[in-house]
């Protein structure tokens, strides 16, 4: 096959399959990733084809999953672990920030830590508590980790393979509400962009909107709506959250002079804070207005009936655009 229309879930499944075919050292591990194919079916069919030694159903213990994956990586494997939901990554937090992130540094590069930690993240699926979190800022604050977020099927397919190929540990964030949402044309013979790059996904002139993961779609819809009102938004899909690829961002901001950042994580100390700080430092004289942030409120994730009030949406992005322009 060369091109085919696929969902994000399918694209990730294909990407994982490809990575496993290409390198026998690639292993998958997690809760229910085997026979069930994961609660979101991202690993569907892989245990059947690659066996129980390569697609490993683990005991129910996230620290155990990540900690044993460290050992597997030290033995030369390339473990890809699945955290079932964002809110369940915290039992593994110690292993991630104190071990996974630090082993290369601690060993002065003598040890590598090629591990991918896949996390379905974000809300909007009507779930109960702990199933809709956006923990990215905490990982991005941790040196030694790379943090990336895909927003669409094509990126999903390539980025998961690139993350697996990376010798560094990668926190791989998958916008779960997009898993089965939209299909995109995937050409598996194309040459992907490098993993650690941001990309302008819609050009515009009035305001730069920065987004990643689930909010890229929101930003694009906002741009569409704004266009109807004669306002031109440029949308950047950040793709990589640590390290950040600020080049395309600065370039855009220097043209537009106005920035709105949107993410599902809490505003306070979210990615928007770092972006605002860097943009202001780098583009101080280009800015016509302060960088405005549209994220979740600084409260715990509420019951799902009001999650859409809690999360940023098209209207709140447009509201921020209005405020930026009117500043």
């Amino acid at each position: 096959m060369t091109t085919q229309k696929v969902t994000l879930a399918k694209a990730l499944n294909m990407g994982l399959r490809k990575a496993m075919e290409d390198d026998p050292k690639v292993l998958l591990m997690g809760e229910d990733v085997g026979k069930l194919g994961g609660v979101f079916r991202i690993t569907d069919g892989l245990q059947k084809d690659f066996g129980e030694d390569r697609v490993i159903d683990s005991p129910l213990a996230e620290s155990g999953i990540v900690g044993t994956a460290v050992g597997l990586a030290l033995r030369g494997y390339r473990p890809v672990v699945e955290i079932q939901f964002d809110g369940f990554v915290y039992p593994a937090y110690d292993q991630i920030v104190c071990q996974v992130a630090k082993i290369q540094f601690r060993s002065q590069g003598k040890l590598k830590m090629p591990m991918v930690i896949r996390i379905p993240f974000g809300g909007g699926i009507g779930a109960v508590e702990h199933h809709s979190e956006s923990p990215e800022a905490q990982f991005a604050h941790t040196p030694g980790l790379k943090v990336v977020a895909c927003s669409n099927p094509v990126d999903g397919y390539w980025m998961i393979q690139q993350a697996i190929a990376s010798d560094d540990p990668v926190i791989f964030l998958e916008p779960k509400r997009q898993y089965h949402a939209d299909k995109a044309e995937l050409d598996d013979t194309a040459t992907p962009e490098p993993l650690l790059t941001s990309r302008v996904v819609r050009t515009g002139t009035d305001v730069t909107v920065l987004a990643y993961g689930p909010t890229v779609k929101t930003a694009l819809k906002a741009a569409e709506a704004a266009a109807g009102e004669g306002r031109s938004l440029e949308v950047v899909d950040l793709r990589t959250l640590s390290p950040l690829d600020m080049g395309p961002v600065y370039e855009s901001v220097r043209r537009t002079g106005r920035v709105v950042v949107t993410h599902e994580a809490h505003v306070n100390l979210g990615m928007g804070a770092e972006l605002a700080a860097r943009i202001t430092e780098e583009c101080f004289y280009s800015l016509e207005a302060p960088v405005l942030r549209v994220g979740a409120f600084d409260t715990p994730y509420p019951p799902s009936r009001i999650e859409e009030d809690f999360l940023p949406d098209l209207d709140r992005v447009l509201d921020a655009v209005d405020r930026s322009v009117g500043f």
Partner: protein, 395 residues
């Protein structure tokens, strides 16, 4: 396959191999299973545990258990249907676990405190929680509608195993309150922590064993081994019967037939009493089966054999009590009809009540993040209120 290879025989200096000592995990619960009422509805004796109602008429108590189980199952059936009709986002079914929950729930005294998982609807029932209050979490209108302090029944905990530590700490508080081993049955207090077979692998659960043993805390670890953690069979978590985990931490464990409400009651009752008496923690493994899906979003046909399910249906926790009551003339048709009628009323209560559960107001997002609204959140709240107002009549 390397990873599945079973431990070999002993004789290498470590004494008999562990499998010899403990035996492999067994489909029927193994010889160590405490049972007082067989799947066929026969009362049987057990050397260590007996069904002791503490003076209450036995028949009445058993009829009460029957009623509890039927109503609990009805809650489950109704909630499952409500989910299918889009009234709930998800529902965690307990089908098959009624005896384990009612047996444990009825063994509690009012002053005891319960730390549940997300599936303890039968225990909630025993604690007097209005079943309607259980639906809010699954409907997405709240995260538990009851007052834990009023019911002595904690909020549902979704992060697997976290509540076992809370239970242990709470039990340490009970110790400090001097409410252990006083001999006053109305004051001595036990705490019970519920969790699943999957949860037994979590660090937190094992740490709770360490703390409970170290401080000899008055806590019962009540594990419903329903054979599955979503798609993973129990054997992925432990290669020996789970109740034996306790031996490694220095307190007793026992495996009880979790589909036998009499046995579950008797064993839990004894374990709670140990706790109240100051004898410390006990592990109770209620050996049962999750007859439904993990939750309404799960599809168990992807990972388990229907044969298994059929075999477990023969051990249905409710059917055996009904057979027992009928065969021994301890309940008549009128009784069964009245329970049925009660269940029907409960169904109406749930169906009507669920739809009437109000959505929270958007601004409630800011309530109770802290004991008082901080200035920061006040500002966010004001901004959001103004934003919402801007739509009034507009779009």
């Amino acid at each position: 396959m390397t990873q599945q290879s079973a431990p070999r025989e002993g004789g290498d200096g470590f004494g008999p191999d562990l499998v010899e000592v403990f035996g492999p995990s067994q489909q029927d619960g193994g010889p160590e299973l405490v049972q007082l009422l067989t799947p066929e509805g026969e009362r049987v004796d057990h050397a260590e545990f007996r069904f002791d109602t503490g003076g209450e008429p036995e028949d009445e108590v058993i009829r009460g258990f029957y009623r509890d189980m039927v109503l609990t199952r009805r809650i489950d059936v109704e909630a499952t249907a409500l989910q299918r009709h889009g009234e709930l986002g998800i529902w965690a079914q307990l089908l098959g676990q009624e005896a384990a929950q009612v047996g444990a729930g009825r063994a509690l005294r009012p002053q005891d405190f319960v730390f549940p998982t997300y599936r303890e609807h039968g225990v909630a029932w025993c604690r007097g929680v209005d079943p309607l209050d259980l639906l809010g979490l699954f409907r997405g209108v709240d995260q538990g509608g009851w007052d834990p302090a009023e019911k002595n029944f904690g909020l549902y905990t979704i992060v697997i195993g976290a509540q076992t530590l809370h239970a242990t700490g709470y039990a340490m508080g009970v110790q400090r309150d001097g409410l252990v081993g006083t001999g006053d049955a109305d004051r001595d207090t036990a705490v019970i922590a519920h969790f699943g077979d999957g949860a037994s692998s979590q660090g937190d659960v094992n740490e709770s064993f360490v703390f409970a043993a170290s401080y000899n805390a008055p806590v019962v670890f009540f594990c419903q081994n329903n054979q599955w953690a979503i798609s993973e069979p129990f054997e992925r978590q432990s290669r020996i019967p789970l109740y034996q985990r306790a031996l490694g931490f220095g307190f007793p464990g026992v495996r009880v037939d979790g589909n036998d409400v009499l046995a579950t009651y008797a064993v839990t009752q004894a374990a709670l009493q140990r706790a109240r008496d100051g004898q410390g923690p006990t592990f109770v493994e209620a050996y049962t089966y999750r007859m439904g899906a993990h939750t309404t979003t799960d599809d168990p046909t992807r990972y388990r054999l229907s044969d298994d399910l059929e075999r477990w249906k023969l051990k249905d926790p409710i059917a055996r009590v009904e057979v027992y009551l009928r065969r021994n003339g301890l309940a008549d048709d009128a009784f069964f009809a009245s329970v049925q009628a009660e269940a029907d009323d409960l169904g109406v209560h749930l169906r009507e009540g669920c739809k009437a559960l109000p959505d929270p107001s958007p601004l409630s997002i800011f309530d109770h993040v802290y004991s008082e609204l901080t200035d920061e959140l006040q500002t966010q709240r004001d901004g959001f209120a103004a934003y919402l107002d801007s739509f009034e009549g507009a779009r």
